[in-house]
């Protein structure tokens, strides 16, 4: 199966129908293992039990950026290769990415209050993630506002690629500016600084959330393909109903 084969929506739907049950089962099992490990993880010597928020905050924060990166690749697929499923992929990913970003902000805020003494601070990391969330909402609004899917696809692709400039800003904001947010402790030169007791549950949860994204994304892409089929058939119906000149 090559990428060209997947360009055919009918083949893509058949593949999705086969893959989804397996993905759902694997995601559920990994989430159960991750949640168990998170519950059993010891308290941190400084942060106490609030370290448990890390096991859901960090995967959501990683995915908030990863989903935008996926959408940026899809945007290239739309603009450069005109892959028929590229816009479908980007449009289906946006609400899921927005949800992960929202959760990263909410869980970060709930972790910040007991550790920093505040729910919110206009520092570089928090502000750049809030901008990412607003960009997701803007993209969703754009897709809804433009009726012609091909025009909406091109405009959304350009906006997505411009928005991708925010990703390195988010990633390196903790190094470039003074922020309340701690610097990277997993994805850093020299390896993770986290103890294995925290690192292993975190990686299992990150894998589980990544699989959750893949599962939801495939299901949402399937819905978008069906929506476009409905639209095409409604156009045929409307044309058939027109009086002939």
């Amino acid at each position: 199966m090559t990428l060209i084969d997947l360009a055919n929506p009918t083949r893509f739907l058949a593949l999705t129908a086969r893959a989804l049950p397996w993905l759902v089962a694997t995601t559920a099992i990994l989430l159960a293992i991750g949640l168990y490990q998170s519950a059993m993880a010891p308290d941190d010597y400084q942060q106490g039990a609030t370290v448990k928020i890390m096991f859901i905050h960090v995967p959501n924060a990683w995915l908030s950026m990863f989903v935008w990166a996926v959408m940026s690749l899809a945007a290239l697929g739309t603009l450069v290769w005109r892959h028929p499923l590229a816009d479908v992929a980007a449009k289906a990913a946006a609400p899921i990415g927005a949800a992960f970003t929202f959760l990263a902000l909410v869980t970060g805020s709930l972790w910040g209050r007991p550790m920093w003494g505040t729910y919110w601070e206009w520092d570089a990391r928090l502000t750049s993630v809030l901008i990412l969330f607003l960009m997701y909402l803007g993209l969703i609004a754009l897709w809804r506002a433009v009726e012609d899917p091909s025009r909406a696809a091109r405009a959304a692709a350009v906006l997505t690629l411009v928005g991708a400039l925010n990703l390195p800003i988010i990633k390196f904001s903790v190094d470039w500016w003074n922020t309340l947010h701690q610097p990277a402790s997993v994805m850093r030169m020299g390896g993770p600084t986290l103890d294995r007791a925290f690192l292993i549950p975190l990686l299992v949860m990150a894998l589980a959330f990544s699989l959750l994204f893949i599962t939801l994304h495939l299901a949402a892409m399937r819905n978008e393909i069906l929506r476009r089929r409905v639209r095409a058939m409604q156009m045929i119906q409307a044309q058939a109903g027109k009086p002939q000149a």
Binding site: D43, I56, T107, L110, L226, Q234
Partner: protein, 54 residues
Amino acid sequence: MSLGPYTTFIVTSYLAVLMVVVLLIAWIAIDYRRQKRRLSDLEAKGLVRRSGRK
């Protein structure tokens, strides 16, 4: 497992994630059923997509 004085913050975080993930799953499942129903309604009227014609 004791969460100490931070129970509210930890439990609220996990509940927020659970709620949003459940909403996402429900939205996608409902949307799938809606699109399938609209498609079968149109097919029942005898409409066929151009790429679906034989």
